[in-house]
């Protein structure tokens, strides 16, 4: 039969020699490889005592931010859920009751907000879609779990603590420039060619 490539090996059922039958050379070879590895630098690190370098653009576990006064910014508009390509986000909205003005910034708030961390692909489209600057991906690593239920993160795990010293810093990626960039509708999802032309004109003018 015609051979397709010259890489194929022809299998022969030849008898092994006595030395080969005793497997001693093969064992010795293996032991040499093992011994070599003993003196090599290990590929693993002992996390969490030791931590690897995380790139500044790393996108990890989400946070639902509060505003300066401590009220939740999220208003359950559903734009993160509709933009999510993995369909990992679900939410239930509720109307703010009288007296809860300090807890929720807007008239409507998310009573339930869940992200399925098993589905999430950490693309960051949710934070891009968010009109309220409420959801951000942080540099925190999502904890592992032995069961699927624990990987559905609710508001208890996502919302940042109210105490000023326990707030979660997102300024590494969310610099002032990035926030300004997001505010500029010329770059947003609702850009029209007119906006872009205007922006370019302004930029050239300056």
């Amino acid at each position: 039969m015609e051979r397709l490539t010259n890489r194929s090996k022809i299998v022969v059922n030849k008898q092994m020699t006595l030395a080969e039958k005793m497997y001693l050379p093969a064992i010795a070879n293996g032991m040499v490889i093992t011994l070599k590895h003993l003196f090599k630098k290990p590929a693993t690190i002992s996390y969490p005592e030791e931590k690897r370098y995380i790139a500044p653009v790393y996108r990890g576990q989400h946070v639902l931010k509060r505003d300066e006064a401590g009220a939740e910014r999220c208003t359950a508009c559903g734009l993160c859920a509709v933009s999510c390509p993995a369909e990992a986000i679900t939410m239930t909205a509720a109307e703010r009751r009288k007296g809860d003005e300090k807890l929720y910034r807007e008239e409507k708030y998310a009573a339930v907000y869940e992200i399925n961390m098993l589905r999430c692909i950490f693309c960051g489209l949710c934070e891009e879609a968010c009109p309220k600057e409420a959801i951000f991906l942080t540099d925190r690593i999502v904890d592992v779990s032995g069961n699927r239920e624990d990987m559905i993160y609710g508001k208890d795990k996502l919302t940042e603590p109210m105490a000023a010293d326990k707030r979660i810093d997102v300024s590494v990626r969310q610099t002032q420039e990035v926030l300004d960039f997001k505010q500029n509708k010329a770059f947003g999802h609702n850009r029209t060619h007119l906006d872009l032309a205007k922006y370019i004109q302004q930029k050239n003018h300056h």
Binding site: G78, E87, E106, K108
Partner: protein
């Protein structure tokens, strides 16, 4: 029959037709948007100015152009009239200005508003690149008015199109709401806090182009684009019973009237159909409602496999001259 040319397309229309109606007879992109005009409501139109067009030739008898853009919903066609809508940059610029004026006092609280996703003002703003505002002053605010158990009034979002008032005037007897005050402080209100409990009052929700009048039973329940619309009917003594149901799973979250391509109600429905019948057994479901695929409502809704008509020559070309072995059965792409 007067002959009118709109953006290069000529049509014969009956005398007394407005430019907007003539454009709708032609159809397509040249139809001016309308925020206050409603073909099913008499005397509507003329308030919002979004439908302005340029008349570059008045008529065959008097071919002079009209000096400034005219409201197409209130201007009747003349024989030999030439109208420019999307072919005129001035019209588009003027309309963008109108949109900005409509948004002056609008709170832009779309993330909270239940109308978001099916809001005509939102569409209009995006189409004209006016999703943001330049207005820096305090917007007008109103005291909250409760107008009954079924309808939520958000006066801050209102653009004073008067459609709901006309619905109350023309559909129901003895209306209890209207526009009070004048100018900037004018507002939709009920007479001494009357509750609106007429059988057809729910139609005000459907005619409202913005989120000023919304369904209280659907308030904050879900975003429009997470619900699936289906057409359904029932036997009703008060209305035709032809409605659109908005599902989340098996649950009916909202019932509205069916709307045509211009967002206008096809058949008025009664309050019992709209607010009370929320069980699946109340309705005979006709099938999924057709949603424009550019609409956010069709986002993440997967329709059934569409039949793809393969060209048999292309098929044999792709298969290196072999014939498809799928046969004539259902697996053959031609039989899907």
């Amino acid at each position: 029959m007067p002959k009118v040319t709109i953006d290069g397309q000529t049509i014969d229309v009956p005398a007394g037709t407005t430019i907007l109606q003539a454009a709708r007879m032609i159809g397509g992109d040249i139809v001016p948007p309308a925020m206050c005009y409603y073909s099913k409501l008499k005397t509507s139109g003329g308030y919002c100015r979004t439908c302005i067009v340029q008349v570059s030739q008045g008529s065959t008898a008097d071919p002079r152009p009209m000096p400034k853009p005219v409201a197409s919903c209130r201007t009747n066609v003349m024989d030999g009239m030439v109208v420019k809508n999307i072919t005129s940059p001035e019209v588009l610029e003027a309309r963008a200005g109108v949109v900005e004026f409509l948004l002056l006092n609008h709170p832009l609280d779309c993330p909270i508003c239940d109308q978001a996703g099916e809001c005509h003002l939102q569409d209009l703003g995006y189409e004209h690149g006016k999703a943001d505002t330049r207005y820096e002053f305090e917007r007008r605010t109103f005291e909250k008015i409760d107008i009954g158990n079924y309808i939520q009034l958000h006066m801050t979002r209102c653009i004073l199109c008067y459609r709901c008032v006309k619905v109350a005037d023309q559909l129901t007897d003895g209306r209890v709401h209207g526009v009070i005050n004048r100018g900037e402080v004018s507002e939709i209100s009920t007479y001494i806090q009357n509750a609106i409990d007429n059988d057809l009052s729910g139609n005000m929700i459907d005619v409202c182009p913005v989120g000023a009048l919304t369904d209280k039973t659907f308030r904050f329940k879900n975003r429009v684009w997470f619900t699936k619309p289906a057409d359904a009917n029932c036997t009703c003594t008060k209305c035709t019973g032809k409605v659109r149901l908005w599902f989340k799973g098996d649950e009916i979250l909202r019932v509205t009237a069916r709307k045509d391509e211009y967002g206008e109600v096809v058949d008025w429905i009664c309050n019992e159909c709209r607010f009370k019948k929320r069980k699946l057994s109340d309705w005979v479901i006709e099938g999924p409602a057709k949603v424009n695929r550019h609409s956010v409502i069709s986002q993440n809704h997967y329709e059934s496999l569409r039949a793809i008509q393969f060209d048999t020559r292309l098929q044999t070309a792709v298969l290196n001259g072999h014939k498809s072995k799928l046969g004539e059965g259902p697996l053959n792409p031609n039989n899907l």
